[in-house]
């Protein structure tokens, strides 16, 4: 075991104390309070809150739309990554920089821009405001970078020898993609898609203006939680929050599983 460099800032014990205190006061204690609020009235009260018709409809919509987002992102994200790595065209650097725009742009602005162009006063004469299509569009906007940015580095590293060998043996472009490129990319696509899913189920800012939070129609879980907080029902809000947190943590576990799987594959 090599000698370690002297740790800065007064040693490991102090930094551990500071890190633990910071995380506890800002993240852990508040999340514990949500769980306590949700279950403090007994499991019966918790169950009543999460099984109310409005909550079930909101959570169902959230999960369904998020799955749609994942499916679309897996395809478009892979195509965009492929074009950015394997294709050459003028302005490619700008397009590459543009991919990060949804991470940089405030979510409320993202929602506003979609509403401006595709909303009731838009120039095209159709209206996605207060529709499920609008919810889908907003989520696609904010999750766009995940799959692209996960797949891009893998595609850059991907050895072209195998593809050239397959091509010289007479494999078609589609076969090469399906049999060689896709298997190498799938851990990255899955990891990006899982991140997009985690983001979708909690997304709020971009949906506020566009969803119009119509219960049973366009009200997703995060909007329902916000409505319950504002109408003075913290118990109900906390109960739905705990449900959503459970889904999100499961997704995070899946992501860390995928990244371990991916690490094993890229020897």
């Amino acid at each position: 075991m090599p000698a370690r460099a002297a740790p800065p800032i007064g040693g490991a014990a102090l930094s551990r104390g500071v890190v633990t205190l910071y995380l506890t006061l800002i993240v852990l204690l508040p999340l514990a309070a949500v769980v306590e609020k949700a279950t403090g009235g007994g499991l019966g009260a918790f169950w009543d809150s999460v099984s109310s018709a409005e909550a079930v409809a909101a959570v169902k919509l959230t999960l369904l739309v998020s799955l749609g987002v994942v499916a679309i992102n897996a395809v478009t994200g892979t195509i965009i990554a492929w074009v950015l790595v394997r294709d050459e065209f003028p302005g490619k650097r700008i397009v590459n920089a543009l991919i990060d725009l949804p991470f940089a742009l405030p979510t409320i602005v993202a929602g506003l821009t979609l509403l401006a162009l595709y909303g009731p006063r838009g120039p095209f004469g159709f209206n996605i405001a207060y529709t499920r299509l609008g919810v889908l569009a907003a989520l696609l906007f904010v999750t766009l970078p995940f799959v692209v940015r996960a797949v891009q580095p893998v595609l850059i590293e991907l050895d072209r020898d195998m593809e050239e060998a397959a091509a010289s043996l007479g494999a078609s472009g589609a076969t090469i993609f399906r049999r060689i490129i896709l298997p190498n990319l799938s851990p990255a696509i899955l990891a990006g898609a899982a991140l997009a899913f985690a983001r979708s189920i909690g997304e709020f800012g971009s949906l506020v203006l566009i969803s119009g939070n119509l219960p049973y129609k366009t009200e997703v879980a995060s909007v329902l939680i916000s409505n319950q907080v504002e109408s003075g029902n913290p118990h109900g809000a906390a109960a739905v929050s705990v449900l959503l947190l459970a889904v999100a943590f499961t997704v995070m576990l899946v992501i860390s599983g995928i990244s371990r799987w991916g690490a094993r594959h890229d020897v």
């Binding site: 090599p2 000698a3 370690r4 460099a5 002297a6 740790p7 800065p8 800032i9 930094s15 890190v19 633990t20 995380l23 800002i26 993240v27 852990l28 204690l29 508040p30 999340l31 309070a33 306590e36 609020k37 478009t76 195509i79 965009i80 492929w82 074009v83 294709d87 065209f89 397009v95 920089a97 990060d100 725009l101 991470f103 742009l105 405030p106 979510t107 409320i108 602005v109 506003l112 821009t113 401006a116 162009l117 838009g122 696609l140 766009l144 472009g173 985690a198 909690g202 709020f204 800012g205 203006l209 939680i225 916000s226 907080v229 913290p234 906390a238 929050s241 959503l244 947190l245 999100a248």
Partner: protein, 268 residues
């Protein structure tokens, strides 16, 4: 090779078309709508006292939350990469929590602890510290949502540079602080810079968490993203677009900073 070429052009068309419909046209259209009638209405809207106060608050969020998370991020990354201790795997997992939690849940969770009837809020309010519906709560929310960025950018860089140079420095008699400032910090600077840019973007634009803890009091706890929402709901579309464009310009500047930093990272 013609089929190859055709499929290449098809892929390019799909990719660029998707980006145009989803990103470029909507964002461009908001800029067009905002400046449709010239600069004067935009200027008069963003120079209103409430709008200026919102901009000021947004910048306060960035100036307080980003340095806090940068310092925390570096300390935490050093701890995770350079030390072994019990609970390290747990800490490593906990760091990512804020990315998995919905912003509204973050807002609610802070209210439940620091609000007037919250776990610590009663005592804090009794002693004259108002957290929720005030600036400290909004800062807490901003810190919560942007917490992982710096750790996640700095930790891999620390792992990659190893400890050889740090050891050499301390063998030559450098103190822990000197080693940190002269060796470690310069080595992680691009990772740190990228983490700071990402935190800044998030801090500038956070909506959900801040909206719940702020109480959305116009001219008092209203940040620029909250103003976009409020003006739009109150049918002041010009005001909403103007505030959105200010935010978009700030976002585009961070995007520019990102694209300047990223290639250097890849060259390393």
């Amino acid at each position: 090779m013609t089929s190859n070429r055709r499929s290449r052009v098809t892929m390019r068309t799909i990719a660029l078309g998707y980006l145009a419909v989803l990103l470029v046209l909507p964002v461009g259209f908001v800029f067009y709508r905002t400046f449709q009638h010239g600069l004067a209405p935009v200027w008069s809207s963003i120079s209103q006292p409430d709008a200026l106060h919102a901009l000021y608050l947004t910048l306060v969020m960035v100036i307080v939350a980003v340095p806090l998370n940068a310092a925390f991020g570096v300390v935490c990354a050093l701890l995770l990469v350079r030390h072994d201790f019990r609970g390290k795997a747990l800490l490593n997992g906990l760091i990512d929590l804020p990315f998995a939690v919905s912003p509204v849940i973050i807002g609610l969770s802070l209210v439940l602890v620091y609000g007037e009837s919250g776990w610590l809020g009663g005592w804090l309010t009794g002693n004259g510290f108002q957290i929720i519906f005030a600036l400290p709560g909004m800062v807490l929310a901003t810190v919560f949502v942007s917490l992982p960025f710096v750790v996640r950018e700095v930790a891999p860089v620390l792992k990659e540079i190893g400890t050889e140079q740090e050891q050499a420095a301390s063998t030559l008699g450098a103190s822990g602080w000197q080693t940190f400032w002269r060796v470690t910090l310069p080595a992680i600077r691009w990772g740190l810079a990228y983490g700071i840019v990402l935190s800044t973007a998030r801090a500038l634009g956070e909506f959900g968490a801040v909206s719940i803890v702020s109480g959305k009091l116009v001219g008092q706890t209203e940040t620029l993203p909250l103003r976009v929402d409020n003006q739009f709901q109150n049918f002041d579309v010009t005001g909403a677009y103007a505030a959105a464009v200010v935010l978009a310009v700030l976002a585009l500047s961070t995007l520019f900073a990102m694209s300047r930093i990223q290639p250097r990272e890849l060259d390393r």
